[in-house]
Symmetry: C2
Subunit: 144 residues, 2 copies
DNA sequence: TTTATAACGGATAATTTTGTCCGAATTAAA
DNA sequence: TTTAATTCGGACAAAATTATCCGTTATAAA
């Protein structure tokens, strides 16, 4: 469904969010360990999230990553996915055709449209806040 | 969503089905041209479909690929996807966790489950027959 | 029986994605 | 002011996926 980079990106964002709830800024090493991801690769992904203004970063000692609490409700999965994988998941044809729309649909166009609309709906309505609360309550997990 | 190989595989299967409706057996060259796919790569994918008993092949002059009409109703998208991409699309965790289930769910487990169940439902209930009929009527397309 | 056609199978190559390394820039703490 | 911690950025490497090549096998037609 998503690229590996995107999976790591979502996991990292959720972890950062959970820690930000407690006013904790976290660094790369801690994040990679917490979500069991390759450190250097995760660094690249975090940089993308910083550039997309989804997370904030601070250099130097006691630096690291955090999410501004005022944005908690506004950041959703859709933004993270778009930042990392682009929006091909929404716009691309299910069978890989370059040109596929209502006028010239592929054989599965309508059926895929339904599924993708629901996926989009889900990603857009799932906030980072919601996900971090589930984590905080110990109901969900980010590794294994 | 699917791998490129899987996209080509579905397109090829639909094309073969449409031609089989008219009792036409088609060869690799024709298929690759019709669906605008790389010939040699498509050959590999067709071999997978043959091994999975989704399509039939015949060697030699006037040989090629076809789909047994008696199977038209039984072959669905789910079988093609499973044959090429495996069933990770059904079973894998949306965030890439090795271990993710009701007992130890990732933060998006439930939401993804809903989407994937619908995807599965769609793939399982969409037959190759249905798709080939849309093509035959000139309503859907396999290239561009 | 010979020949040409087409799928099959294995090796190899190109491209993309995933992952690593390392030095530069920044900045808080000593 | 110096040092150490940390992100940032670019180059590089490994792995996976996509794609090609070419000889082998089977078989229909000549």
């Amino acid at each position: 469904m998503f690229s590996k980079a995107c999976e790591y990106g979502i996991r990292a964002a959720v972890y950062i969010a959970v820690q930000s709830l407690e006013e904790r800024r976290v660094n790369l090493k801690e994040i990679a360990k917490a979500i069991e991801s390759p450190e250097a690769f995760t660094a690249k992904i975090l940089q993308q999230l910083v550039k997309s203004n989804i997370i904030d970063s601070t250099k130097g000692p006691s630096g690291g990553f955090e999410i501004n609490k005022t944005q908690f409700k506004q950041i959703n999965l859709s933004q993270i996915v778009s930042a990392i994988d682009g929006d091909s998941i929404y716009t691309g044809c299910g069978l890989g055709l370059k040109e596929c729309d209502e006028n010239k649909p592929c054989p599965v166009h309508d059926k895929f449209k339904d599924i993708r609309d629901e996926l989009r709906q889900m990603l857009e309505t799932t906030s980072i806040e919601e996900l971090s609360l589930g984590m905080k309550e110990g109901l969900t997990f980010l590794k294994r």
